[in-house]
């Protein structure tokens, strides 16, 4: 599948100078730029569609979006997962209106065309109305995406047959990802359902907040921190031993003290649990990663997934027009955890980063107002400042990626917008520069990394 778009080829490099550290405000509200994002970013990237634990059995399905395109993600009888457009090839109606469930068939409401869970057209209401030669069943199923991939439980799909492998797409970011996906034998699962809310803001504000904006927490979430911590504000950040790491637009900002986010979660039993498994985690992932996990941290996978390792909220920012997104959030836990610990994690997540959570409640309005105010016809021509920590890039023996020292930094945000710009400007993946050159190469398993990276 190749998604072509003919027409405007504006020079997007006009909209930012990341060496200088500024962005043009129009990328947060302009309708043409947004349309182009749907083609050049969402129709060409690997996009998160499900955690495999959400659809464990044959016939299990869920519905979601890739960009603004509605899709169904369904478990097949042979255990594989298929992702297909949730749109009937007859007149285009949505064929599945449920959020999730288990079924044998998807039947379209309009004229009753029926599809199996692979998307194949199996029959329709009053089939006799079609004469021989009118319709070829084989070519009138639900359109499947170009590729589906699974990285340690996270299922991704892409409309782009030219996309690199999912492993190559995630690249060195896998070294970081494994801290949540593989910190204990057995991997992870989502528990409970999905919470959806609509936020009148540009999708990039959510992503950039989680990719690097540790800075906002102490101020935006001051009330939350104080109410959970006997009136005390957040402790100051250790700027020496905390970092930003960016790889092809993915990014993780983190400390190395190992407990900050676990404290914020506010569930002592969960803290105890991780302290108990930490020595094993160190054997599994190396000393460094066992110290990063649980510290104050946040991360985003390009283009639109974010999570808080340690706090266990996992989320996706689904674009719904230039000035609106739908936020979907889940709780991710280790499968090996006993049920009572899983329940403690869920409680903690809802109390902090659920829609009624002490921290979550403060964020949405900031993003909404950044979006609407940036749109003013005069305001939109003013630049935004993204220069924090621009001189703090370091080489680090252990940490892959473009690494900056100091958790209060705009480095990962700049890395995200750099990748945004690369995708908006380059027609071919092969021509996009690697940022940075990957260290891991084709290594299949970051657990087994020798020497340097396992430290």
């Amino acid at each position: 599948m190749r998604i072509e778009r003919i027409g405007r080829e504006p020079d997007y490099s006009r909209y930012m100078d990341l060496k200088e550290g500024w962005l043009d405000r129009r990328i947060f509200s302009d309708a043409d730029i947004y349309e182009e994002e749907l083609y050049r970013i969402f129709a060409r990237s690997w996009l998160f569609v499900a955690h495999e634990s959400q659809i464990p059995s044959s016939g299990d399905f869920l519905t979601t979006h890739m960009g603004e395109d509605a899709v169904i993600v369904a478990r097949q009888p042979d255990g594989s997962i298929r992702v297909m457009l949730n749109s009937c090839p007859h007149r285009g109606n949505k064929v599945c209106f449920a959020d999730a469930g288990n079924t044998r068939r998807f039947v379209c409401n309009y004229h009753g065309w029926a599809f199996d869970t692979a998307g194949d057209l199996k029959g329709m209401h009053e089939e006799y109305c079609y004469d021989a030669g009118d319709i070829d069943f084989k070519n009138h199923g639900l359109k499947n995406v170009a590729k589906v991939g699974n990285y340690k439980g996270l299922v991704f799909a892409t409309f782009n047959s030219d996309a690199p492998s999912l492993e190559a797409w995630l690249g060195d970011f896998r070294w970081y990802l494994d801290m949540i996906l593989d910190n204990e034998e057995g991997g992870t699962e989502f528990i409970g359902g999905c919470i959806k809310s609509v936020i009148s803001a540009n999708w990039k504000f959510g992503v950039e907040n989680f990719i690097g904006d540790a800075y906002h927490a102490g101020w935006t979430h001051d009330s939350g921190a104080r109410s959970m911590n006997n009136g005390q504000p957040f402790p100051p950040i250790d700027m020496q031993n905390s970092y930003h790491a960016s790889m092809n637009g993915h990014g993780w900002e983190f400390g190395t003290e190992g407990v900050g986010d676990l404290v914020l979660l506010g569930r002592p039993k969960v803290m105890d649990y991780y302290n108990k498994i930490r020595p094993k985690m160190a054997e599994r992932l190396g000393e460094m990663r066992s110290k990063i996990f649980g510290s104050v941290a946040s991360a985003s996978i390009f283009p639109n997934v974010s999570f808080l390792p340690g706090i266990s909220t996992f989320r996706q920012w689904q674009p719904k027009g230039p000035m609106q997104f739908e936020l979907k959030t889940w709780v991710i836990v280790n499968k090996a955890m006993p049920d009572d610990i899983k329940e403690e994690v869920t409680k903690g997540v809802m109390q902090t980063f659920g829609p009624g959570g002490t921290f979550e409640m403060d964020d949405g309005e900031n993003w909404e107002n950044c979006t609407t105010v940036n749109r003013g016809v005069v305001t939109r021509h003013e630049r935004l400042h993204y220069r924090c920590g621009i001189g703090r890039e370091i080489e680090h023996d252990t940490l892959p990626g473009i690494v900056y020292r100091g958790q209060y930094n705009d480095a990962n945000q700049r890395g995200f917008y750099q990748r945004w710009l690369d995708m908006m400007t380059h027609d071919e993946f092969g021509k996009m520069p690697a940022r940075p050159e990957p260290r891991l190469g084709n290594v299949a398993e970051t657990r087994d990394l020798p020497g340097l990276f396992a430290l």
């Binding site: 449920a98 919470i195 609509v198 001051d222 009330s223 109410s227 809802m350 829609p355 909404e368």
Partner: protein, 175 residues
């Protein structure tokens, strides 16, 4: 299940509990949060479960650990929320939002324990935010109210939010 009352509660009880619901809404609208806390029982449970839109004939089993909850609060947690709102550091509420709650469809039913009643009601919450945008949320509530001394206290509240996608960026308000 049919809501068949054991024996209908006395009219005075129905009036008193209905008034308590209205009073509660007024206290919250006026940000008299301590006044509201005083209407809660010591063992209060305040819950909002997650929903997901399913086909009527859905064949999937329930999730092993349940659907998940957005609110699962006891008195301590509700106090903490109130402390947060009163901290003076909630920027999104300063200047204050305009919030108005309308309570209706009140049904007061007898409960097994004779100092308790079960109450169904509908809450419509109008929120006019600091940036001028207005959000409307509707919820159904099933409560238990208990008479203690001269007053009725909220013992438990199960909230059902009538939105599959929440039309607001947060649930920073009590239902």
């Amino acid at each position: 299940m049919l809501d068949r009352p054991l024996a209908p509660p006395p009219v005075e009880v129905i009036v008193a509990v209905t008034q308590a619901l209205h009073r509660e809404a007024r206290l919250l609208d006026n940000e008299d949060l301590d006044g509201w806390l005083a209407m809660l029982g010591k063992d209060v449970s305040y819950r909002l479960e997650l929903k997901s839109r399913r086909f009527r004939a859905d064949r999937s089993p329930p999730l092993p650990l349940g659907p998940g909850v957005i609110f699962n609060e006891d008195l301590g947690r509700l106090k903490m929320r109130v402390d947060r709102l009163k901290s003076g550091f909630v920027w999104a509420e300063d200047p204050p939002n305009y919030i108005r709650r309308a309570v209706s469809n009140v049904e007061v039913l007898a409960n097994q324990a004779d100092n308790e009643v079960r109450v169904h009601s509908v809450l419509v919450m109008h929120r006019n935010r600091i940036d001028g945008t207005t959000r409307l949320l509707t919820a159904g509530r099933t409560d238990r109210w208990r008479s203690e001394g001269s007053c009725w206290l909220l013992a438990s509240r199960d909230i059902v939010l009538d939105h599959s996608v929440m039309p607001d960026s947060n649930l920073n308000a009590f239902f």
